[in-house]
């Protein structure tokens, strides 16, 4: 049997809004994925370590505090350092449209903004994950 997709849902930085992260984590679990949620206040370093240790296929970053431009690229940079760029990185939160191109250029493959159905993020993962 095929191994289920493994996802790390992570909250980088100091932001405490995790309703979206938790709802998405649960929806992914209900969709048959194996989901680990880091909890709040993770450094990019901790997130990358957890992702490698948990052998995940996907990292989902959530940030609503406006610190995404600093935190998200830091995660992808560390993944490169660890030769772990096969991990798909997606992000969500209060992220202005104009910030999205530079985040994508930094290796975040998709950004989901408020109002996105969980099914859209789940379908995206199923299509893009490389196992």
């Amino acid at each position: 049997m095929e191994r289920p997709i493994r996802v790390l849902i992570a909250k980088p930085g100091l932001d405490g809004h995790d309703r979206g992260a938790k709802v998405l984590a649960r929806a992914m679990r209900d969709a048959g994925m194996e989901v680990v949620y880091t909890g709040l206040r993770q450094t990019p370093q901790q997130i990358v370590e957890a992702a490698i240790q948990e052998d995940v296929d996907v990292i989902g970053l959530s940030c609503l505090s406006g610190a995404h431009n600093h935190l998200f690229p830091e995660v992808t940079r560390l993944l490169k350092e660890q030769n772990a760029t096969d991990i798909l990185v997606i992000g969500g939160g209060i992220i202005p449209e104009e910030d999205i191109p530079s985040l994508k250029a930094a290796g975040i493959s998709e950004i989901f903004t408020p109002g996105t159905p969980t099914s859209v993020a789940i379908d995206y993962i199923k299509e893009h994950v490389t196992k």
Binding site: V35, G66, A67, G115, P117
Partner: protein, 557 residues
């Protein structure tokens, strides 16, 4: 049942089996069942039968009188309108000071300070974990020097200031007291609020630092200090707002907030305070969500239930101890990133619910907050929304205008009853602190949040512009940007301060704080002395971290 009600009962049955049955046979209703935003069933029609047990004097009474269902003041908005208080702050103290003075010029009547996350979690702007967060969701405050800039040309005896600060609330309050002293304003003239509600941080908002026990001590120390020295200060704002934002229902918002309130009162009584010495300064903070009738009922139910709890459970005698005074903010989670101008209408309805529910102060969200921090133009529209309700809508001319409505009274009863049952359950678990430690409250919130999300995704619930009436290719509004230089400027300023101040004095004050923290003595005087020497927020919190340890959350989803 009286003869009149019996007759009414029969008439209602006849109406259901007659005209209603006929109408629904030809045109079925739009939905099989109608529910509130919180999922509570809503009947087709409410009549006197639904409130047959309502005892006017016992359950509603008169405004300004027990059980305060109809409001806490005898004249309510006929005497004075609610305080229009927009939560604001971003970037540096200079920029925020400008926004405050703008808002005061526009007719705002109180200030509400938003701090950035490093400040809220007790880190200085140059701490590694602060990277990327400085000045983002609020203003960065590292020391008394920043507070001096933040309130430059704002006389502290003329405004009331609410500060959204929790784990390090004692430190920011200490800064405010010392700042006032420098302005020549004695602490007994200061009016304002610190949020200081750590329990909801553990379950919903996330800016905790210390474990529950020392956190509760800090809170009771503030209660005791303020009752003696800052008597007009609201020492806590017990908040349901963020719990609701995290996805709970109206009933859960009331139940979890009041359960937290009970925990604070119990802790203070246990610490030897007399309930009537501190209870009059407790204040509350609720959300105003989209379901207008349910929200009005929620505010009324919360007021009545708190009065009953304070009287029956804690034996409070002072009528002010029984009054649930509250601030309201419209629901951030109801704002949509799609067609953001529609949010103005959402906020109007939510603000109307707060006014009909008898709020003491109100923040109206700006239309663009699902996208970014609000622009000045958006903030002005949000403030104007409240002003239009206050001055033009007419709802402020009479007190508690929806009282006596069959549906609103019926919902008020139902929300109170369901909240009482929840509080009973929390009591059985050992109170709010234990219920949080066991993850009970967190799980309940998450169940509700997930159920709501599923309801939206299945189109059972309609959110205009999100899952119906969408438009393609929207034009995006101008957004406010916090300049990245803020972080550099703030850390440079902090570096200078550490050079300039008398570090011998600072170190001595921090040592004194450490020694006090190791005893049971009130921490406020030592914190005030440390602040006075320009010890930074991070330095003060680090001393307390070393003595108290840090909170380790359990991850539940």
């Amino acid at each position: 049942m009286t003869a009149d009600l019996k007759q009414l009962h029969a008439a209602r049955d006849a109406w259901e089996t007659g005209p209603v049955a006929k109408a629904t046979a030809r045109f079925p209703e739009r939905k099989k069942e109608f529910v509130t935003l919180s999922g509570a069933p809503v009947k087709r029609l409410y009549t006197p039968l639904d409130i047959a047990d309502l005892d006017y004097e016992n359950d509603l009474g008169f405004p300004g009188e027990y059980p305060f269902t109809r409001g806490i003041q005898p004249t309510m908005y006929r005497g004075r309108l609610w305080t229009m208080r927009q939560y604001a702050g971003f970037g540096t103290a200079e920029e925020s000071n400008k926004r405050y003075r703008y808002l005061l010029e526009q007719g705002q009547t109180g200030l509400s300070v938003a701090f950035d996350l490093p400040t809220q979690i007790g880190y200085d702007s140059d701490h590694p974990l602060a990277r990327g967060e400085v000045g983002k969701v609020g203003v960065a405050i590292d020391s008394l020097a920043d507070m001096e800039t933040l309130f430059a040309n704002i006389p502290l005896d003329k405004v009331s200031t609410s500060m959204t600060i929790n784990a390090p609330a004692a430190v920011l309050l200490a800064m405010y007291i010392v700042l006032a002293e420098k302005q020549g304003v004695p602490s007994d003239k200061l009016a304002g609020t610190i949020q200081n509600d750590i329990l909801k941080e553990y379950v919903a908002r996330g800016t905790y630092i210390f474990p529950p026990k020392p956190s509760m001590r800090l809170i009771t120390d503030i209660f005791a200090y303020c009752s003696a020295h800052v008597p007009k200060w609201n020492t806590i704002s017990i908040s349901g707002y963020h719990i609701r934002e995290a996805g709970c229902t109206a009933v859960q918002e009331v139940a979890f907030t009041l359960a937290d309130g009970i925990a604070y009162v119990e802790a203070a009584v246990k610490a030897g305070l007399d309930v009537d010495d501190f209870a009059p300064r407790l204040s509350f903070f609720f959300n105003a969500q989209m379901d207008l009738l349910e929200e009005v009922a929620k505010f009324r139910a919360a007021r009545r239930l708190w009065a009953r709890i304070m009287k029956d459970r804690f034996g409070a005698k002072n009528p002010r101890s029984l009054m649930l005074r509250f601030h309201t903010q419209t629901a951030g989670c109801a704002l949509t990133a799609q067609q953001p101008d529609n949010n103005i209408i959402r906020v109007t309805l939510q603000a109307l619910a707060a006014a009909l529910g008898g709020t003491q102060s109100l923040h109206t969200n700006s239309r663009d907050e699902a996208l970014s921090l609000p622009t000045q133009e958006s903030v002005t529209i949000a403030l104007r929304t409240q002003q239009i309700i206050a001055y033009e809508s007419g709802v402020t001319s009479t007190i508690d205008p929806l009282a006596g409505s069959y549906v609103v009274e019926s919902m008020t009863n139902q929300i109170e009853e369901a909240a009482v049952n929840y509080i009973k359950k929390i009591d059985e678990l050992g109170g709010a602190v234990a219920a949080i430690e066991q993850g009970f409250i967190q799980r309940e919130i998450q169940e509700s949040a997930y159920a709501y999300q599923k309801a939206v995704e299945s189109n059972y619930r309609i959110v205009v512009g999100v899952n119906k009436f969408q438009v393609e290719d929207e034009k995006l509004p101008e957004l406010l940007k916090v300049k990245p230089e803020v972080e550099e400027r703030q850390t440079a300023k902090l570096g200078e301060l550490r050079q300039k101040r008398d570090n011998t004095k600072t170190q001595a004050a921090l040592q004194q704080l450490r020694e006090t923290a190791q005893t049971d003595a009130n921490l406020m005087p030592a914190i005030i002395e440390a602040v006075r020497t320009y010890a930074t927020l991070g330095e003060i919190c680090d001393v307390l971290r070393q003595v108290f340890g840090e909170y380790e959350p359990s991850v539940i989803f």
